[in-house]
């Protein structure tokens, strides 16, 4: 789906999609990790108001909402998740790439942006990262490089205050994240609280 055919998702519909995935996971229908979103629906919908069809969306292991909002059909997405690929969803047609490695997607996103700029393209890259990832060395290098070389990319930091179960601020010994003041020109920052654990849906599943 793209352009005029693309579905417009509401927060309620996004939550319902994840609820269905949670049910599938809890009933042992998905034999691989799933990473579910909750609590950021309005914010991510707002972020996607600036995402065009020919833009690239680069994600981590939690990317169901991005896929839906970029135009992947819920049926196709569900199929991929059931097949075990929730952790690194990639959809070439919608220009979505994900990586299950912390920070792994960031320099790839940077290269895509560099390629777009060198080819004279007008599209952009939107790179989604979490709060702990935003403090890594690779994030700092890439945000610096993208800023100084004026690359067509922005970094969306989604802060749920933790990495798996580790409190990001406490672990780093800092009260505020580097980019949380929202002043960096290439960074969009928002905070949210999720009801789901890092992986799974909060129920012990016996496979």
């Amino acid at each position: 789906m793209s352009g005029k055919d693309k579905k417009v998702w509401t927060p309620k519909e996004l939550i319902e999609f994840e609820n269905q995935i949670a049910e599938l996971f809890n009933s042992a229908k998905i034999k691989a990790p799933v990473h579910l979103y909750y609590g950021n629906e309005e914010k991510i919908i707002e972020v996607f108001r600036e995402v065009q069809d020919d833009d690239w969306v680069m994600c981590s292991w939690r990317s169901h909402y991005q896929c839906l909002l970029k135009g992947v059909s819920p049926e196709k997405l569900r199929e991929e998740i059931i097949a075990g690929r929730s952790i690194y969803l990639c959809f070439p047609e919608q220009r979505i790439i994900s990586s299950a490695i912390v920070g792994g997607i960031i320099p790839i996103a940077l290269g895509v942006a560099m390629g777009i700029k060198r080819s004279g393209g007008k599209n952009r890259v939107h790179c989604f990262i979490g709060d702990m990832t935003s403090e890594t060395g690779i994030a700092h290098e890439c945000i610096k490089y993208a800023t100084n070389h004026k690359l067509p990319i922005r970094f969306i930091i989604e802060d749920n205050e933790k990495s798996v179960c580790t409190d990001t601020r406490e672990a780093w010994g800092q009260e505020k994240l580097t980019y949380e003041d929202g002043k960096h020109p290439l960074v969009v920052y928002y905070k949210y609280q999720t009801k789901y654990p890092h992986a799974g849906a909060g129920v012990r599943v016996q496979f």
Partner: protein, 180 residues
């Protein structure tokens, strides 16, 4: 007359440069600094993308450039330096086709080397040859070691022209610049 190792490397770089999709990226591609630099002296300046020292960033950028149709020739003068890019190499470039159901097949050419030991020995953080280890870690990337001058041009021709979705690591020997 038999071609020399260095001359063949230079000829291969010029061949790559003629393809409009290629970029040469890394530290000391546009600036002086390594033995490899001299082999790209005849490559047009606009093809040379000088990067800061940021090995993982460089490898990720190479993948990204390849995803949008460019063919990066990514320079890591020694295996020991390439070790700093292993996450992007093993977890991403080698796995990209698998994790995308064959949808993304970035073609990257990685140029690395085994440090020279003669006449100066650079000591043991600069002479590693990890070819066999990386063959085990990267089943979807071909690694070609350049033993003789006549191996060089065909190796880069293959790396550039291949349509099998694989990337290539081309490994040269620093000592052979003077010896072969």
């Amino acid at each position: 007359m038999r071609m020399k190792y260095f001359d063949e490397l230079s000829r291969a770089m010029e061949m790559l440069a003629k393809d409009e999709r290629t970029y040469f990226i890394g530290q000391a591609v546009a600036c002086a600094g390594t033995a490899m630099t001299n082999t790209v002296k005849n490559v047009p300046r606009e093809k040379l993308l000088e990067l800061p020292v940021a090995e993982e960033m460089q490898m990720g950028m190479s993948i990204g450039l390849a995803l949008v149709g460019h063919i990066p020739v990514s320079f890591y003068p020694r295996w020991n330096f390439l070790l700093l890019a292993v996450n992007q190499l093993v977890n991403h470039l080698d796995k990209m086709s698998i994790i995308s159901n064959g949808g993304f097949r970035p073609k990257v050419i990685i140029r690395t080397g085994i440090g020279s030991e003669r006449p100066l020995h650079p000591q043991f953080q600069h002479i590693g040859d990890y070819t066999e280890a990386f063959r085990l870690m990267c089943p979807n990337i071909e690694i070609i070691r350049l033993e003789e001058p006549e191996d060089i041009f065909p190796a880069y021709q293959k790396a550039l022209g291949r349509e099998d979705g694989k990337s290539t690591i081309v490994v040269e020997y620093g000592d052979y610049y003077n010896e072969k």
